[in-house]
Symmetry: C2
Subunit: 213 residues, 2 copies
DNA sequence: ACAAGGGTCTATGTATACAAACTTGAAGTA
DNA sequence: TACTTCAAGTTTGTATACATAGACCCTTGT
């Protein structure tokens, strides 16, 4: 694996997990020494992070970790609703019903996973990820998929602010199941509506439980 | 201006204007010599282009100019309709009516510009750009604005494939005026509908007149 | 004649040295 | 005392030398 890839992955993780807080200046020599590489691959990693929006080049003071304020979260979810709503609708039109019917069945059994503790929780996150991937594949629109991917980075970062309790996860699983059901039924408008509902509930949960940094 | 900025701008222009055709391999030494810079800033330029999707790193064959097929154009417009439709609706909710009323007035006089020849044509493109910028500003959502900006690069590239005759431009100006009018009237659904109509007509025009490379 | 292996060559990936620009601090003057 | 200017130091931007890996071709053996 390339050194720049390792640096990118390490910094991305540090930012998403809030170990590198917003406003932190990522000086090139400092970070390259910390990660044990030279400045060249580090600079490539930084430019990738900046392209994703996780960092910005603040004039000539180097690159700094971007902030996510409460207004940012609203904007983020506004775009997310637009993109994922459209994606769910397209998946309902173009996706394979059997795939989503299977996902729905699994999602209905998710509460057992969520209440089952550590490994079950991991299995649930994996299941939710499979639904996202299935939608991505079903829409067959690489530009839309790319736009959603670039959003997800920021969303993961926001999610780390919220406390995901078992109660919310159980409700989220039911909402996911409703989305999968609508897609399996080939009903675009219902799929979009179910997605809108899910995202609004997610946003409310984040805003209520978010812990300021 | 930094050497990497110049390299980025030059390569971006070459790709958008189809001087560098899809599939062209951008070898580092070759391009750095052509642009009169060293490999380091060139690599940064290439990584920026790749982040935008204008190039891709094809395994170990270096970076190549990405292709835009007819299916890609459909996908591109599908995403564009989603984003710009939402943007027009938000602008209708949040924008300043006077700004868009003014733009509408100017757009209604656009046919004179279009039929006025070279400088008038340029003035029209500038006017259309002002409408885009006004919508960008009105939505007050940096994530959505960023998503639209990253789309526009590809759209400019596609537009270069089509022959923009005076007849199409006149029709487009009327469609733009309709969008501005709906936003000025504070009618989100009408603004979104007008945008949908405009984009579908644009897409049809591109598909009919596009010249294969 | 065809396939397999090795070697060379050319490409990208990395490190480092150098240049330039900006920031910061201190000193001097109004 | 406050503002301006100059200088030093630290930072990023660039060039280049070196490492490494992949591709292509030639040779050799079956």
């Amino acid at each position: 694996m390339r050194a720049s890839d390792r640096a990118y992955a390490a910094l991305r993780d540090d930012i998403i997990e809030w170990r590198l807080l917003p406003g932190t200046v990522l000086a090139e020599v400092e970070q390259s020494e910390r990660l044990g590489i030279s400045r060249t691959p580090l600079r490539e990693a930084l430019s990738r992070l900046t392209a994703e929006g996780l960092t910005t080049t603040a004039g000539s003071r180097g690159v700094v970790v971007t902030d996510i304020s409460l207004e940012d979260i609203d904007e983020l979810f506004e775009l997310r609703e637009t993109l994922e709503g459209k994606a769910a609708a397209l998946a309902a039109e173009r996706g394979d019903p059997a795939t989503f019917e299977q996902l729905r069945t699994e999602l209905l059994q998710a509460p057992e996973l969520i209440n089952g503790g550590g490994p079950g929780l991991h299995a649930y996150y994996e299941l939710a990820g499979r639904l996202d991937a299935a939608i991505d594949a079903a829409i067959s629109n690489s530009y839309l998929a790319q736009a959603m991917r670039s959003l997800r980075v920021h969303l993961v970062r926001v999610r780390r602010l919220a406390a995901d309790d078992a109660q919310r996860l159980t409700a989220a699983a039911a909402e996911h199941a409703a989305i999968a059901e609508a897609i399996a039924a080939g009903n675009p408008r219902l799929a979009e509506a179910a997605t809108t509902v899910h995202l609004h509930r997610s946003l409310s949960h984040v805003k209520v439980t978010h812990t300021p940094h």
